[in-house]
Amino acid sequence: MAQLTIREVINQVLHAEMERDSNLIMLGEDIVGGAGTAGGQEAIGGIWGTSTGLYDKFGAGRVIDTPISEATIIGTAAGAALAGKRAIAEIMFADFVGVCMDQIYNQVAKFRYMFGGHSTCPIVIRMAYGAGLNAAAQHSQAVYPLFTSIPGIKVVMPTTAADAKGLLTQAIRDDDPVIFLEGKMLYGVKGEVPDGEYLLPFGQARLAREGSDVSIVTCGQMVMFAEAAADAMAKDGISCDVIDIRTSSPMDEEAILDSVENTGRLVVVDESPPRCSLATDIAGLVASRAFSSLKAPIEMVTAPHTPIPFARELERAYLPNPTSIEAAARRTLGYR
């Protein structure tokens, strides 16, 4: 077991998988950096530091810096996949998928089904998502509800270093398109990582805290806030299940239902705005399949229905936080 950050893990997995499969290519903006400059190639290694060293090892043929052209980055990855390659495409900030949504939504996601099951599209689209860096409305969004709603793509968002290893390896070896979401606030999160080959199947939630009073179901950057809320309540003798769904498509419905059947109380925490969100999706699941277990109304802690503001104070007010999560959990406990 090694202690690594999520940033380091992603880099190691990319190295290992590029080494393992000579049919795998990577492309994106500044994943190498410095092309066509006096400073030369390998100047950046990705602005998040996740693709360091790959160009030197695998060369320009397989580690490809592109112009700023998101639609064609995804199209190139997808076309190469239809023609027999496997590809990892990087969209620098998840928000930039606005530019390439057609390639994801109408192309990549449809191929296998629409073409009668005769094709697969083994691509991973990596992107950094989420608020917390005061990067304002077009560089901070938690885009997972958009993708989760699309049949034909898988949506993955690890929150620990070990999960990052298992899920990224799985994503790269998966024969279907995977959106792999990297939390900007999580790149520096450190943890124990299994040595050697390590794969985690999609659709298996992680129990981040175990308890019997309230189920807190969440994902991505909100997991650490949910854990903090659970830890705070533990001091008062309140014990919470904190469920990190890890993949929102496929989603581990059984883990959520089992937990709620045990606790009778559900708080869903979601970094995205409330409508058509993971929060409403999970609330709907529980309301329809575990209604009789509920002892209190389901609480949803989400961002407000607004774009993401810039100022520190405003972004802080925008995001769910341990205090708002704890308050919601206590409301479920205080019901009636």
């Binding site: 950096g33 112009p67 530019v99 405003l314």
Partner: protein, 322 residues
């Protein structure tokens, strides 16, 4: 064309304001005073000012992520901008925009933009509105050599030609799309040729020289105001700072930053030109320098102590609430 003394002084003041604004932000950001991502415009001042000195408040500009220079050149309030960049509630956009999304509609400044390539289509729309209004206004799309590779930019060029709109596509070629060189990322290497391929005239100029930028733009604005449809301008310029503040710029050549500051500084070029031609005096320019420095100082002082946004303001200006 010889500009009158007042116009020369104003152009110099605008360029100097942009430069000092950016130099000061560079210092303050390094101290950790300012949140978020900031992309500085220093080095490119002759472009923004050369373009905007040909415009009025009735003309439109659509800017980029590197937008501070465009904002100042188009007349945005400097103190209001500084407050915005500090995220204060009295900022131009109430602290919601930050550096990357400053807008001032009273000045025809339709917004900086966080998405590379998003601006040109918006400028087409403003150009359509200007054409329908029939009052001779023009619309400017500022794009870099990075945005010139986005499909949205190609579509905008084509549609402006098809609809014969008063749009001027200003390509600021600073040789870097983020951390990648234009010599790699721009196929053919010729930014302006992209616009030419859609059938519009392209004028190229030196974007480190105010007078050249101004003249090129004067011709472009005349063309547009006369109802001749879109036109494109490519100005070759230099980015004195990184892609964003905090960028270690390892892609730069040895001595490159010193060399471009030495050889391609539009403020130095302006000074020597007007002094040699006897158009302005050293004293007059020094006085502008002092006034600009005082303005920036006041702006930073004001921004530092400006009232912060209140949490409930997250929900203001929302037209659907849940």
């Amino acid at each position: 064309m010889q500009l009158p003394r007042e116009a020369l002084l104003r152009a110099y003041r605008q360029m100097k304001t942009i430069r000092e604004f950016e130099e000061r932000l560079h210092t303050e950001i390094a101290k950790g005073e300012i949140a978020g991502f900031t992309h500085l415009y220093g080095g490119q001042e002759a472009v923004a000012v050369g373009v905007c000195e040909n415009l009025t408040d009735n003309d439109y500009i659509v800017s980029t992520h590197r937008g501070h220079g465009h904002c100042i050149a188009k007349g945005c309030d400097v103190k209001g901008m500084m407050l915005e960049i500090y995220g204060r509630r009295d900022g131009l956009c109430k602290g919601r925009a930050g550096s990357m999304h400053i807008a001032d509609f009273s000045k025809g400044m339709l917004g900086a933009n966080g998405i590379v390539g998003a601006g040109a289509p918006l400028a087409v729309g403003a150009g359509l509105a200007a054409k329908l209004d029939g009052e001779g206004s023009v619309s400017i799309a500022f794009s870099g050599d990075g945005a010139c590779n986005q499909g949205t930019t190609f579509e905008a060029l084509n549609m402006a030609v098809v609809l014969k709109l008063p749009v001027i596509f200003v390509f600021e070629n600073n040789h870097y799309s983020e951390h990648t060189g234009a010599s790699y990322a721009v196929g053919s290497g010729d930014v302006g040729a992209r616009a030419a391929a859609f059938g519009m005239k392209v004028i190229k100029g030196n974007g480190c020289d105010f007078f050249d930028s101004y003249e090129v733009m004067r011709e472009a604005v005349e063309h547009c105001r006369a109802g001749n449809g879109p036109i494109s301008v490519e100005l070759d310029t230099e980015r004195f700072f990184g892609h964003f503040e905090g960028d270690p710029q390892r892609y730069r050549g040895k001595g490159e930053l010193d060399r471009i500051r030495e050889q391609r500084d539009c403020l130095k070029a302006f000074r020597s030109r007007v002094l040699e031609a006897g158009l302005l005096t050293e004293e007059a320019l020094d006085q502008v320098d002092a006034e600009v420095l005082a303005l920036i100082e006041e702006s930073v002082d004001g921004a530092r102590v400006g009232p912060v946004s209140l949490p409930e303001q997250v929900l203001e200006d929302v037209y659907i609430s849940y």
